[in-house]
C-alpha cells in the first residue's frame, strides 16, 4: 500500500510532458519525450492530423512526405532538408525504430516549411497555433446584481476542466487554442471576485479566478460564455442546483467559514435588458423597460411586507437566460417571479413551466431541463392565489403553461407574469395605478403563501 502511494506520488511529481497543436483541421495533444536533456516530438505524429503523410527509412536517412512537400532528415545530424532548402536544427535529429524525432524547438522553423503558412509557437508552454485559430476572451464583472458575478465571453465554444480550491476557481483549457488577454492579470475591483490570472503551461492554458468566497462556474451561449458567481452556502437540503448543459458540473466547494451570500425569499427577474429589448409594445415602449419598472415596484412592495427580495437585474443590462437561472438558484430563494409585458390581449397572464416528459436527474443532481418539475405543484398553487388576488381587483387574468426559459431550470416555485394593457391603450401598461394594483395582488398572494413556500410543500 505504501509502495503504491509512493508510485502514485512519483507519478504526479513526474507529470508527462505534452505539446498541444491547434489548427483548423484538428486540435490535438502529443507526448513529448526527453533525449539527452532535450525535448523531442515525433514529426510524423505532428503532421499526420494536418494532411496526408508518408515516411520511409533509407539507411540513416528518414524521408517524410507531407502532401507534396518532401523532407529529409539524417540520424544524429542537426540539419534537415525541406522543399530542397537546408534547415538547421537546434539539436540532432533522432531515428528510433523507424520513428523520426525532431527537437521541440525546431517546430517553429520546420512547420512553416512543411505547411507553407504562419505558425505561432509558444515554446515555453508547448502550444503551437497553426493559422488563425486563436480563441480570445474578455471578462467583465456584473455589478448590477448582488452579489456580483463575473461573465467571461469567448470567441468560440470552450469546455475547460474546472476545479476549485480555497479562494480560487481554476479552468484548464486542454483542447482550446485560448490566447492570453492584453494583461495576464485581470483586476475587477471587487472584494468578492478581486482578480483573475491567465497562464499557460505543458500544452494547456489556465484561467484562475480568485475569490474571497467559494465560486462556481456555469456555461451558456453554447459554451461561449462562462459565468462565475459566488457559490450558494450549502443548506441542510441535499439537492444540488442544476447547471446548464454543455459544460461540466460546477464543483461546489465544501462548507467553509467564509461569509455566505445573502439569502433572499423572493427573486424577481425583469426579463430582457440591454440590447435585448424584448417586444416593442409601441414605438416608444420596450418590454425591457416595462419589466424593470414593474420589478422595482414589486420589490418595494414585497420588502415593505418584510419579504427579502433580489432583482436579477436592476439596470438596463444584458443577462442571459442561463445566468438568470444561475442567479436565482444560487440565491436559494423560496419563489422566483419572472416579469414580462405584451401588447396583445388584456390584463395579466400567469405562466408556469411547460415541463417535458422524462427526467434525467441523478441522485442529488437535477436535470437542467426539468429542474422545476418537483416544484410545479407549489408553483401552481401560488399561481392560483395570485389569480384570485387579481380577480379581486377586477383585473382580467389567465393561467397557462409556457415553454418559457428559465422557468424549467429553477429549483424553487417559479412563475412568469405577463402584463398586458388593461384596455385598448397600450401605453396604459406603464400606468402607476395599474402596475400598483398588479403588484399589490402579487404581494398579497406571496404573503398568503409564505408558510407554504417556506415549507416547500
Amino acid at each position: 500500500m505504501v509502495a503504491g502511494a509512493v508510485l502514485l506520488l512519483s507519478g504526479y511529481a513526474n507529470e508527462e510532458k505534452r505539446i498541444s497543436i491547434y489548427s483548423t483541421a484538428a486540435n490535438y495533444t502529443l507526448p513529448v519525450v526527453s533525449r539527452n536533456n532535450h525535448d523531442y516530438v515525433g514529426l510524423f505524429e505532428v503532421l499526420e492530423p494536418l494532411g496526408t503523410v508518408t515516411a520511409k527509412v533509407d539507411g540513416a536517412r528518414w524521408k517524410v512526405r507531407y502532401d507534396k512537400v518532401e523532407g529529409e532528415f539524417t540520424n544524429e545530424k542537426p540539419r534537415a532538408k525541406v522543399r530542397g532548402r537546408n534547415i538547421d536544427l537546434p539539436n540532432n535529429f533522432l531515428l528510433e525504430n523507424g520513428r523520426g524525432l525532431v527537437p521541440l524547438a525546431s517546430l517553429s522553423t520546420l512547420l512553416p516549411a512543411f505547411l507553407g503558412g504562419p505558425v505561432n509557437f509558444h515554446e515555453s508552454a508547448r502550444r503551437v497555433f497553426i493559422g488563425n485559430v486563436a480563441v480570445h476572451f474578455n471578462a467583465q464583472l456584473n455589478r448590477s446584481s448582488d452579489p456580483p458575478f463575473l461573465v467571461m465571453e469567448f470567441t468560440s465554444p470552450v469546455n475547460p476542466t474546472i476545479s476549485t480550491g480555497p479562494g480560487q476557481l481554476r479552468m484548464t483549457f486542454n483542447r482550446e487554442p485560448l490566447v492570453p488577454p492584453g494583461s495576464q492579470t485581470l483586476k475587477f475591483d471587487s472584494p468578492m471576485i478581486p482578480s483573475a490570472t491567465y497562464s499557460e503551461n505543458n500544452g494547456a492554458a489556465e484561467i484562475q479566478v480568485n475569490g474571497s468566497v467559494p465560486l462556481f462556474a456555469s456555461f451558456s451561449n453554447n459554451g461561449r460564455r462562462i459565468t462565475i458567481a459566488p457559490a450558494p452556502q450549502p443548506e441542510k437540503q441535499a439537492i444540488q442546483p442544476p447547471t446548464p448543459p454543455g459544460g461540466p458540473m460546477p464543483t461546489l466547494p465544501p462548507p467553509s467559514a467564509v461569509p455566505s451570500p445573502a439569502v433572499y425569499f423572493a427573486v424577481i427577474d425583469p426579463s430582457h435588458g440591454g440590447e435585448e429589448r424584448g417586444a416593442a409594445l409601441s414605438d416608444q415602449i420596450s418590454e425591457k423597460d416595462v419589466t424593470l419598472l414593474f420589478a422595482r415596484r414589486l420589490r418595494r412592495d414585497l420588502e415593505a411586507r418584510g419579504i427579502t427580495t433580489l432583482l436579477v437585474r436592476d439596470s438596463d443590462s444584458v443577462v442571459s437566460l442561463d445566468q438568470r437561472a444561475t442567479i436565482a438558484n444560487a440565491a436559494r430563494s423560496k419563489i422566483y417571479i419572472c416579469i414580462h409585458a405584451a401588447s396583445q390581449g388584456n390584463g395579466v397572464r400567469l405562466y408556469s413551466g411547460l415541463i417535458p416528459a422524462g427526467d434525467a436527474s441523478r441522485g442529488p443532481f437535477l436535470d437542467w431541463n426539468t429542474a422545476q418539475s418537483s416544484f410545479l405543484p407549489v408553483t401552481q398553487a401560488v399561481e392560483s392565489q395570485v389569480a384570485a388576488e387579481l380577480q379581486k381587483k377586477q383585473i382580467s387574468v389567465r393561467m397557462l403553461a409556457a415553454p418559457l426559459r428559465p422557468l424549467n431550470n429553477i429549483v424553487a416555485p417559479a412563475l412568469a407574469i405577463e402584463i398586458a394593457p388593461p384596455g385598448t391603450t397600450v401605453a396604459d401598461v406603464t400606468s402607476v395605478a395599474y402596475q400598483d394594483s398588479i403588484a399589490g395582488a402579487v404581494v398579497a398572494a406571496v404573503v398568503g403563501a409564505r408558510a407554504r413556500l417556506e415549507s416547500g410543500r
Partner: protein, 199 residues
C-alpha cells in the same frame, strides 16, 4: 386539271391551320391576363394523389386560443413529405391576409425530418423567427399549432425540435424556447389549456 380530292384535302388543311392559329391567339391573350405577382411567387412542387382529411390546429390571436380546422389536402404518401405538406398548408393559412394569427410574409417550412424513435425536426427559414411578433402567448400559439398539427396527423411523433435555417436558436422571438425538444404530450396538454378557452 387538279384532282377533286386534292382540292378538298388542301381546303381541309387550310381550315385546320386557321383554327389552330385562332386557338393560339386566344391562349396568348389569356396568358397576358395572368397576374405578374402570381408569376413571381415561389412555386411549390405539385403534389399528386388523392386528398386526405386532416385536422389543423390553428392559432387565433383574438381569444388567444387554438382551434381545430378540418382540411382536405393532397398529401404525398411518404411520411416525411406528408409532414412537410401538412405544415406548409398550416403556414399558408397564417400567410393569408385574413389570417387569425399572422406570420411574417415569406415565412417558410424548409423541411421536416423524421428520425426514429419519434423525433420530428422542423426546419424553418429565418424570416419565420426574425420577424415573428414577440410575446409569450403569441409565440407559444405558433409553437403549439405547429407541434400539435404535426403530432396529431403523423403517427409516432413524440418529440419535436424546431430549427431555423438548419441551426438551433435560443428562442422564437425572445420568449418561446427553441433550444430544446418539445415533448408532444406536454404540448398536447398545453393545447388543451389553450383550446378550452371560451371565445
Amino acid at each position: 386539271m387538279i384532282p377533286r380530292h386534292l382540292k378538298i384535302g388542301v381546303t381541309l388543311m387550310l381550315l385546320v391551320a386557321l383554327g389552330m392559329g385562332i386557338y393560339v391567339w386566344h391562349m396568348r391573350g389569356r396568358a397576358q391576363l395572368t397576374e405578374p405577382s402570381a408569376q413571381g411567387a415561389p412555386v411549390a412542387p405539385p403534389v399528386s394523389g388523392p386528398t386526405e382529411q386532416v385536422t389543423l390546429y390553428v392559432a387565433d390571436d383574438g381569444p388567444g386560443a387554438i382551434r381545430t380546422q378540418p382540411a382536405n389536402l393532397p398529401l404525398p404518401s411518404g411520411r416525411q413529405e406528408h409532414a412537410e405538406e401538412l405544415l406548409r398548408a398550416l403556414i399558408a393559412i397564417y400567410l393569408n391576409k385574413d389570417s387569425p394569427h399572422p406570420l411574417p410574409p415569406g415565412s417558410e417550412i424548409r423541411s421536416v425530418y423524421l428520425a426514429d424513435p419519434g423525433l420530428a425536426v422542423i426546419d424553418t427559414n429565418s424570416v419565420f423567427t426574425e420577424q415573428h411578433r414577440s410575446g409569450i402567448l403569441v409565440e407559444e400559439l405558433t409553437i403549439a399549432s405547429l407541434v400539435e398539427t404535426l403530432s396529431a396527423n403523423v403517427q409516432g411523433i413524440s418529440r419535436v425540435k424546431i430549427l431555423v435555417d438548419g441551426r438551433t436558436r435560443e428562442t422564437l422571438a425572445g420568449h418561446a424556447d427553441l433550444s430544446g425538444f418539445y415533448d408532444a404530450t406536454a404540448v398536447h396538454l398545453l393545447v388543451a389549456q389553450l383550446y378550452s378557452r371560451k371565445e
